[in-house]
């Protein structure tokens, strides 16, 4: 997009309303950073963070997690696998070292929370109660060690129980982030809505594998990893569409969004806001580029707000 286009966008921007409200919290625009793909310091070296609607942090757990050994990244056709394994310094370090810096920026702050048991999730969300965090995103794709490693998000009852408990311990609005590795996403969505989730984010990565046939081993040390990027977009759009028609709570849609038009696709499918993940690893400025492309699209077709896009599907 040339500079001229951008200027045009900004001048027209004045009569556009990009705001969206999720669980009573207003985002200036629907562009958020997907968990695990953003660093305020490093991403901030490429663009103005205040352009974002919200920052969704990488997953934080009650105690520090080491993550998996490397290689943790593998490229696939039109996508990538990661097995970072949710490496993070733990909630105390996050609150002390990272949160104050995040709070120097304007966008809403959504903290992504991970755990290995319901107790771990609850202890972590409790610690965030008296912080200046706006919202929580509960990553329920994690394996539950008490139940033999089955993902909380893959089981309707477990997902419901986790939502109920987290809801009890948290004073903040909670978004449940669903895994696509299930046979019926709408069942899980309904279960978390019934237990008091304030919103839903979807999708997390799809479980995948890549084999290096020359060396006869998997590329990732962890053998399997989460598939993300444009390769998963059709799955994500379909799931947002299905979930929109199953629940009433707001949806943050993500999975392979590379352009403003991709973002529009999610909005039309029924998302209230979107997150940019893998695209930002490939083009560090992707979130702001996608935002200006979204504005360009709205101007071209005369949309004045996001509601109109969401309701435009025939």
């Amino acid at each position: 997009m040339s500079k001229q286009d951008l200027n045009l966008d900004v001048s027209k921007h004045r009569n556009l309303d990009l705001r969206v409200s999720i669980a009573g919290i207003t985002l200036e625009n629907p562009i958020t950073t997907a968990s695990g793909t953003f660093s305020a310091k490093e991403s901030g070296a490429f663009y103005d963070i205040d352009e974002l609607g919200a920052i969704i942090t990488k997953g934080v757990s009650i105690a520090p997690w080491e993550g998996n050994p490397t290689p943790r990244i593998a490229e696939t056709y039109g996508g990538m696998l990661n097995s970072v394994g949710l490496q993070n310094p733990g909630i105390d370090s996050f609150i002390k070292e990272e949160l104050p810096y995040l709070r120097t920026f304007g966008p809403r702050i959504v903290v992504n929370v991970v755990g290995k048991s319901i107790g771990e999730y609850c202890s972590a969300v409790e610690k965030l109660n008296d912080t200046e965090v706006d919202m929580l995103e509960i990553n329920i794709s994690c394996p539950n060690i008490k139940e033999g490693g089955i993902s909380f998000g893959a089981d309707e009852k477990l997902a419901a129980e986790l939502t109920r408990e987290v809801r009890k311990y948290s004073k903040k609005p909670i978004l449940m982030k669903l895994t696509p590795n299930v046979s019926d996403i709408t069942e899980i969505a309904r279960a978390v809505e019934a237990e008091g989730a304030d919103g839903i984010s979807l999708i997390n990565t799809l479980l995948g594998m890549k084999i290096d046939i020359h060396n006869k081993r998997t590329v990732l040390w962890n053998k399997t990893g989460g598939l993300s990027g444009p390769a998963i977009k059709p799955v994500a759009v379909r799931m947002v569409y299905q979930v929109r028609r199953s629940v009433c709570i707001p949806i943050i849609g993500l999975g392979g969004i590379m352009t403003g038009e991709d973002a529009v696709e999610f909005l039309m499918a029924g998302a209230d806001a979107v997150s940019i993940g893998t695209a930002a690893l490939i083009d560090p400025t992707a979130p702001v580029r996608i935002k200006s492309e979204l504005i360009g699209f709205m101007n071209r077709y005369g949309y004045q707000n996001l509601q109109q896009i969401r309701e435009s599907m025939l």
Binding site: T37, P71, T278, A280
Partner: protein, 281 residues
């Protein structure tokens, strides 16, 4: 903004040995970025393939810089580097401005000046595609040494078969020693065997190359109590510190205690002190 993705222009792209290419890029487009192309030796850039089925950037070390021009030397190993080898003069290429922490040259000069004995030797020890970043490093160190005859810069280079960049390195180093594993050129063996045979007293080591070589050199430097800086390689996602894909374990002293600290190769490295890296993996 201090970092940018820019469109660089290919000035030349030539084969310099079997499967090895040298590409020179005009990065004038970065000149208006705050950090411009002020690259430090040991830093790398991200190259973004044109074929969008290849999503991830390819990290390549900066081999040489001259005003707004940078030169990279790369081996064709897969689709990304193959695409790169097909670029012609005048083609545009998406790259990042320099990334990561380069070699700590001030730390080296401080260390060797601490002890008042007169003559000092700095060694660059590199193997294979670890050799390209040594050129910018050699240039920078040699410029700082200037006419000071007490400091000697020598390079130990290891190749599999065909050697490259020897002439260029010779113009900045006082001595260049070469080993090839197949014996095509110079010493027949590895670069570490070559070093052992030469038996030159070295006061400070800089290195880049395959991990087993770095690990062995780190053990050697630990034994003889000489400082070492190494440049590590890791599979990367973003290359700029956002994804935590490229972690490496280091030892760090915090509140008087030695602690294992995960660091990002792309952002905290690729250059680390030999003593700080935990090699056992």
């Amino acid at each position: 903004m201090t970092k940018k993705i820019i469109e660089a222009q290919v000035i030349s792209n030539q084969k310099i040995a079997e499967g090895i290419f040298r590409i020179t890029l005009d990065c004038a487009a970065a000149a208006d970025a705050t950090e411009s192309f002020n690259a430090k030796p040991g830093q790398f850039i991200n190259l973004y393939p044109r074929d969008k089925s290849m999503l991830l950037p390819r990290p390549i070390s900066i081999c040489f810089t001259e005003r707004n021009r940078i030169t990279l030397v790369y081996r064709v190993v897969g689709n990304g580097t193959r695409e790169l080898s097909c670029h012609k003069e005048g083609d545009g290429l998406q790259i990042s401005t320099p990334l990561g922490q380069g070699y700590h040259i001030e730390a080296m000069f401080e260390a060797i000046n601490q002890d008042p004995s007169d003559h000092k030797t700095i060694a660059l020890v590199a193997g294979g595609l670890g050799i390209p970043p040594m050129l910018e490093l050699a240039k920078t160190i040699r410029t700082q040494i200037g006419e000071d005859r007490r400091i000697k810069l020598i390079a130990f280079l290891g190749f599999q078969e065909k050697a490259f960049l020897i002439e260029e390195l010779s113009s900045f180093c006082h001595e260049v020693h070469v080993a090839t594993e197949k014996g095509d050129f110079g010493f027949h063996g590895t670069v570490l065997e070559l070093m052992e045979m030469q038996n030159i007293v070295v006061d400070y080591y800089f290195s880049c190359g395959p991990k087993p070589m770095l690990k062995a050199l780190a053990a050697h430097c630990h034994r003889i109590e000489k400082p070492l800086q190494v440049s590590l390689e890791e599979r990367m996602g973003c290359g700029y510190g956002a994804c935590v894909g490229c972690t490496c374990k280091t030892k760090e002293e915090k509140d008087g205690l030695m602690r294992v600290t995960p660091k990002k190769v792309c952002k905290d490295g690729p250059v680390f002190f030999g003593e700080e890296v935990i090699w056992s993996e």
